[in-house]
């Protein structure tokens, strides 16, 4: 095996596969041919981006988080406040929201590099709870439980106004999701991304070959936080409204659930999970609006008892075999 072969086999999984391109084309076609479902597409795109951000943290870095809504909420509140008090431009607002999420991720990353899974669970949840208490406390700024009202977002470049039918919003959110996906795809297939997966699988060995474990965990956490902030900013901009709900525990639980349905540890997991979760939600709540959590709970219990790999195995098995064919295994 020459150096050239090794380079090729290492870079093979980074190439775009035909089905990925086809899937993305399909995703882009949906809001074009089904404009009446634009609001749902927008919601799915936002949840997909949020799940993608959790995938970096959980699926690639192996950090169990029950408080990912902290970053989502930070992004949402920052974008909304920025639009209300500074300037209504959506793109600048999105950048500010993303930065705010990332900054909080950097600030809180020392909290998650120490301790056990339980400690991390508690600390991530604690951060989200602290933020929620703060948002509740400073209600003259955030609107408290009533929500922040009067957020007006300006048009996108090219004079696309956000309309009530959420057509502009759906394309905007999809574009951001696509961009984030492409960037994350580059990152997880880079040498740094590979080292991150090595860390998740065996922390001790990674440390033994002389790479810094804590630095990788922190950067991955901040990266996930920034993306979650972007997802929150999208929600605030496309709905023009933020309330304490964006920091609520159920948001962290929902995104975890979506990611697990799609399968953590590959980038499509978040997207497929978001689609499945939203569709599931829509279907179940159409016949039992009040008790849909029961069925979601039952689904979770059964899924965990059966082993969550089983749900994604058909996909992953396919991927693995393809990888083996090109000399990956």
């Amino acid at each position: 095996m020459t150096a050239h072969d090794i380079t090729r086999s290492l870079s093979a999984p980074a190439r775009w596969r035909p089905w990925e391109i086809a899937l993305w084309l399909l995703i882009w076609i949906v809001p074009v041919v089904l404009p009446q479902h634009a609001a749902l597409v927008n919601e799915i795109a936002i949840l997909g981006l949020f799940a993608l951000s959790l995938d970096i943290v959980l699926g690639y870095a192996g950090i169990v988080s029950l408080g990912h809504a902290a970053f989502f909420g930070t992004g949402a509140y920052t974008a909304a406040l920025f639009a209300k008090h500074v300037m209504p431009d959506p793109l600048v607002g999105l950048a500010v929201g993303t930065l705010a999420g990332g900054l909080l991720g950097v600030l809180t990353s020392p909290l998650i590099v120490r301790g056990t899974d339980l400690t991390r669970l508690m600390v991530t949840m604690g951060v989200a709870l602290v933020l929620m208490e703060l948002a509740n406390r400073f209600d003259q700024l955030t609107g408290g439980a009533d929500g922040l009202q009067g957020v007006v977002i300006g048009p996108l470049p090219g004079n696309f106004e956000f309309d009530l039918a959420a057509r502009t919003a759906s394309f905007y959110s999809l574009a951001v999701l696509f961009l984030a996906f492409v960037i994350m795809r580059r990152i997880v297939h880079s040498p740094w991304g590979l080292s991150l997966q090595a860390l998740r699988d065996n922390r001790l060995r990674l440390a033994a070959i002389g790479l810094s474990v804590n630095a990788r965990l922190s950067i991955a956490y901040a990266l996930g936080a920034a993306l979650a902030g972007a997802a929150g900013a999208l929600l605030a901009q496309t709905t023009g409204f933020v309330s304490l709900d964006v920091l609520d525990f159920h948001r962290s639980a929902d995104v975890l659930l979506a990611l697990v349905i799609g399968g953590a540890g590959w980038l499509w997991g978040g997207l497929i999970g978001a689609i499945a979760f939203k569709v599931l939600h829509d279907v179940i709540s159409s016949f039992t609006p009040q008790y849909w959590t029961f069925w979601i709970g039952l689904f979770l219990v059964v899924l965990m008892l059966a082993g969550r790999e089983r749900l994604v195995r058909p996909w992953q098995g396919l991927l693995k075999r393809k990888g083996a064919g090109s000399g990956n295994e």
Binding site: G115, T116, L118, L129
Partner: protein
């Protein structure tokens, strides 16, 4: 001032009884059971149904709440929980969140979503006043009753753990399940009994707490954080750790809500994060042992 301290202690003792089962499950089976609050809720509703529907006396309902939730815990351990022991923490978390979702929706469906109350008996509604001024102490009879029950339980459990054969088996199984099994200790049965007892205690705590904590279907999520704080801060290797953590949490919460009503919960969470940063394994840990 002293009254607040007294209320805080009562609250803390209640939290201790509620969380003890969780601490044991975490320490013993290394299982993160977020559905623990659902057992407490079950105990509360058993009390409500028995007292309101069947006119049982309050004192008879408490053991009933314990028994019913213990049975429920035993059945669930046998059928569901046992399969999850070896799985990664993430799976356990999701599994128990799923169970909690189901419990919340089911209770909502059966009992309605509004908060329920019970009439505590006459002799528990009194109030004792001592002293005056800054040192005045007002003790609600019900809170005094809670403290008495919880202290009795704590002493009883401590004796059970330290003085009986079952206690030594349990401690052996916590320290190293494999060696314990090799010595002929029926580890599975010890787990089952402990899980049932822990669920029962949660049920008892839930029943005792109906009057103080309030009871509605969202109970498991509302108090999940508190149970987890007790276990994470107190450590899961002894009974003393969770006790101290629960008392601290109870007192801090009552004081915080009284003096800084809008920042009370904020202080509790910040304190938890700070303690976990300082001692990631909890305040009280034993050296040695299995992990």
């Amino acid at each position: 001032m002293l009254t607040l301290l007294f209320d805080g202690i009562a609250y803390g003792m209640l939290l201790f009884v509620l969380s003890l089962g969780l601490a044991v499950t975490m320490g013993l089976m290394n299982f993160v059971n977020l559905a623990h609050g659902a057992f407490a809720m079950a105990g509360g509703y058993v009390l409500v149904v028995l007292m309101r529907g069947y006119g049982w006396p309050f004192l008879a309902c408490l053991p009933a709440a314990f028994a019913v939730t213990a049975l429920l815990g035993a059945v669930l351990e046998r059928t569901l929980y046992r399969r999850m022991y070896g799985k990664p923490h993430l799976d356990q978390v999701l599994f128990s969140i799923g169970l909690t979702f189901m419990a919340v929706a089911a209770v909502d469906y059966v009992m309605g979503s509004s908060q329920v109350n019970v009439q505590t008996p006459e002799w528990l509604r009194g109030r004792f006043e001592f002293g005056s001024g800054a040192l005045s102490l007002g003790m609600g009879a019900y809170r005094l009753f809670i403290i008495v029950v919880c202290v009795a339980l704590t002493v009883g459990l401590q004796t059970l753990l330290n003085r009986t054969r079952f206690g030594s088996r349990l401690r052996a199984a916590v320290d190293d399940p494999r060696v314990a099994a090799g010595l002929g200790i029926p580890v599975n049965r010890v787990f089952l009994l402990t899980f049932a007892a822990g669920s029962g205690l949660a049920g008892l705590g839930g029943a005792l707490g109906v009057d103080i904590l309030g009871l509605d279907p969202s109970f498991p999520f509302k108090f999940m954080v508190y149970f987890l704080i007790v276990c994470a801060v107190g450590g899961t290797s002894s009974i003393t750790g969770p006790l101290v953590a629960a008392l601290l949490l109870g007192i801090a919460d009552v004081f915080g809500k009284y003096y800084l009503p809008k920042l009370g919960a904020f202080i509790v969470y910040m304190l938890m994060i700070a303690i976990l940063l300082w001692r990631p394994q909890g305040l009280f840990t034993r050296s040695g042992g299995g992990r």
